[in-house]
Each structure stands twice: as C-alpha cells, then as structure tokens.
Amino acid sequence: MKRFLQAAMLFGVLLAGVVVASQAQGLRSVLGTVLPYAAVAVLLVGVIYRVAGVWGRAPVPFRIPTSCGQQKALSWIKPSKLDNPSTTLGVIGRMALEVLVFRSLFRNVRTQLKPGPKLAYVGGWELWAAAMAFHWSFLLIVLRHMRYFTEPVAGFATMLAALDGFFEIGVPTLYVTNVLIVAGLGYLLLRRVFDPQLRMISLAADFFPLLLLLSIVVTGGLMRYFGHTDVASIKELAIGLITFHPVVPAGIGSLFFVHLTLVSVLLAYLPFSKLMHMPGVFLSPTRNLANNNRAERHVNPWNAPVKVHTYEEWEEEFHDKIEACGLPLDKP
C-alpha cells in the first residue's frame, strides 16, 4: 500500500500542477506548443538511445533454449514449431503471436489447493483479457486520433471511428474502445492494489503509468461525452504542430490542456519507464532467437581463433588403422 500511496501522491501533485497550469492563459503557448515538441523529442531521442545505444551494444547472447515446447529433434518426435521454433519463420510466428495477442500472458498460472487435497495450477484469463482490452483499445484510440493530425483526414481514422462507434449510442457516439480501455486499465490497477501478492511486488513505477494512462483516458472521455470541446480549434492547434507553424487558437477549454499535457508527460516518461517493454519485446532473447543450437554451430565472433581438430580430419589421419581394426568409417 505504501508504494501505491507514493505513486498516487506523486501523480496527484503532477495532476494538480497540470490542472493549475492549464488555467493560466499565459501558459497555454507553453503547454500547447513547447511541451509537446519537447516531449516528442525526448521520446525519439530516449527510445533510440536506449535501444541502439544501450541494448544494441550488448552482444547477442547464445540462443536460450528455455522455451516451453519440444524442440526440433528426431524426425519422429513432433516439434513444437511456435513455442520452440528452429527456423526464422517460426520465430516470426512466435513474435507475431506474442506482440499481437500476448500469448505468454496465458502462462499467468497460480497454484491452488483444491479439495482432495489436490494441488492444481490454474491459468488465469483475466490478466490476458484486461491487457488485450487495454492495449488494443489504446492502439485504436491513437489511430483514431490521427483525425486531428491529418487534413484531409486519413481514411483509416474515419473507418476506425465508424467501426468503433458501430452501436451509435448517444450523441456524440459512444466509442466501444473507451469503455474497454477504462475497464482494462481499471482492472490492471485494482489488481495491483487489492491482490496482496501483487501489491508486494508492485513498485511506485508500476502504479504511476497506470494512473497516468487512466487520467489521460478520463480527461479525453470527459471532453467527448461530458464537457465538450471545440474540436475544430483543437485541430488547428494539432495541424499547426505538425506543420511546424504552432498556433494556440483562443477558446479551447482548459480540460484539453490537461489532456495534452498529461500526454506530453507520458511521451517524455516512456523512455525512462517500464513502458519500454514496447520495443523491448522485440529484443527479448527468449523470443527472438531460433532454437537451433543443436543443428547449427554458433561461434562467438570475438573469440580468439581456436585451433580445432575435427572428426573428419582425425578419421583421415587414422583411416588405415581404423580400417585395419574393422571399425566403421564415415568415409570408407
């Protein structure tokens, strides 16, 4: 609970600061132009630095065969092509399933004592469902937001909006992703707060991103369904940003500046946070390397050259003697 309170307090201070700042007309050009530019710059430089400069410098490790399926062996043993791939295609398949449908979250098993008494390992689907609901909704929301940043509006943004607002509930239409993302984030947060085991291993840095995301979603939803904002003026601001002629039109409500500033904080925070699992998943050695240790020889490229004496050479050397003893030969 202490670490949750720490995160909540830190976040509360941030939110209060943002809310106060958004009220000040004088700060609007900072919140509406300087901060978003700075945040995107920090995001790009930070991610590139961490991926190329830190992670990319680490040598590729020896292939780690700790996957959870039968590796390719003899022809009559069925290999598990996706869990323990031996080819690049299999690796791409495993990575795609991991990135798109979070397959490994199904391994979120718990031990339970069932009547008997019997020890059982029970897989939970809740974490997977909440993670899918959150991440996919987030992606769709970001793609739909491209309606602010493209003129004429990119086709996919209108198409997704039509799909997302399929049920046509209310004016403006309720987006299904808005319900799903609040439910998903809510579950992910409450899980860490109320489950004692999870609370034990949760740090302030686990709660903070959830609070940040939740508040971005809530301010967005408030603007759309409750307060209403001048979307046309916000579009002017957004187009100004991406054409590098920033403008802050008058008459935009302060809630928008809270929304935008929290988004800027999120973008700038990303390279320093656990949210780096986004590029990180692609660089996970247990996910991105084929398990072909036994089929191919992997030589550490910076090893000093080792003088080896292969079996072929050895057989050739003692060919006549082996033959004389009547032992089998590879090359008779």
Binding site: F149, H228, A232, F282
Partner: protein, 127 residues
C-alpha cells in the same frame, strides 16, 4: 555480433510511425478549410453564442430531437428570448443553407459523419 542491421531497421520504422502526421501532411496534406456562411445571410448571430455552438451544437440538436420526438414540444427559446422552431432542416439549415460548405467542411475535417441526413432532408443539397 549485435544484430545492428535489424535494430536499426526497427528504429527507422518506429521513427517513421511517430512522425507519421508530418510526412503524411508533406505528401498528401491540404489546407484547413473554415466553414463558410452563405454570402446573403442577413442574420449576424447564431441561435446561441458562437463559442457555445462550436462546442455544443450536437448536444443542442440532440435535445431538440428529444423535445420534439418525445414531448411533442416544437419551440425553443434562445438565451436572448428569441423563439425558434426546434427543427434541424427548418431552423439550422434555413440560415446555414449551404450545408456542404458549412456543416460538411467542418465535419469532414473533424472526421465525423453525422447520420442525421440519412433521414433528414437538406433542401438545397442532393439528398
């Protein structure tokens, strides 16, 4: 071995995605068109303050619809006491007769397609 090629390719894709709006605009972007009023419109004011209309016109229309369809109550009084007939076609589109240049330019740049005109008529439009 650092697999630098693959990492760089991944980062290039990441950078391209983050900056998508910038190069999209450079390639296909056009100017933001402001909604236009008919040139011959005598009225100088909307039925409510302009700032309010920009933010809340959809809500107002929704409440008009509710009051007409559910309560059969067809008149609406503006803040300044002026009486209006609560009607999409007969009120809004009487002043904003140029729906294509007014409602539609704004909506297409905001990426919204109100379904209203599936049923309601735009007297000067094609449908």
């Amino acid at each position: 071995m650092h697999d630098s090629g693959k990492i760089l390719a991944g980062l290039v894709v990441f950078g391209a995605l983050v900056t998508f709006p910038v190069w999209y605009h450079a390639a296909w972007g056009g100017p933001l068109v402001k909604p236009r009023l008919p040139a011959d419109l005598a009225e100088k004011e909307c039925i409510a303050p302009t700032a309010y209309m920009r933010e809340h016109h959809m809500e107002l229309l929704n409440s008009w619809r509710a009051q007409v369809v559910r309560d059969g109550h067809r008149s609406w009084t503006g803040e300044n006491g002026r009486q209006w007939r609560a009607s999409l076609t007969k009120t809004c589109l009487r002043c904003h007769a140029n729906k294509a240049d007014f409602c539609d330019t704004c909506h297409s740049s905001a990426g919204v397609k109100p379904v209203c005109f599936d049923c309601h008529v735009d007297p000067k439009g094609k449908n």
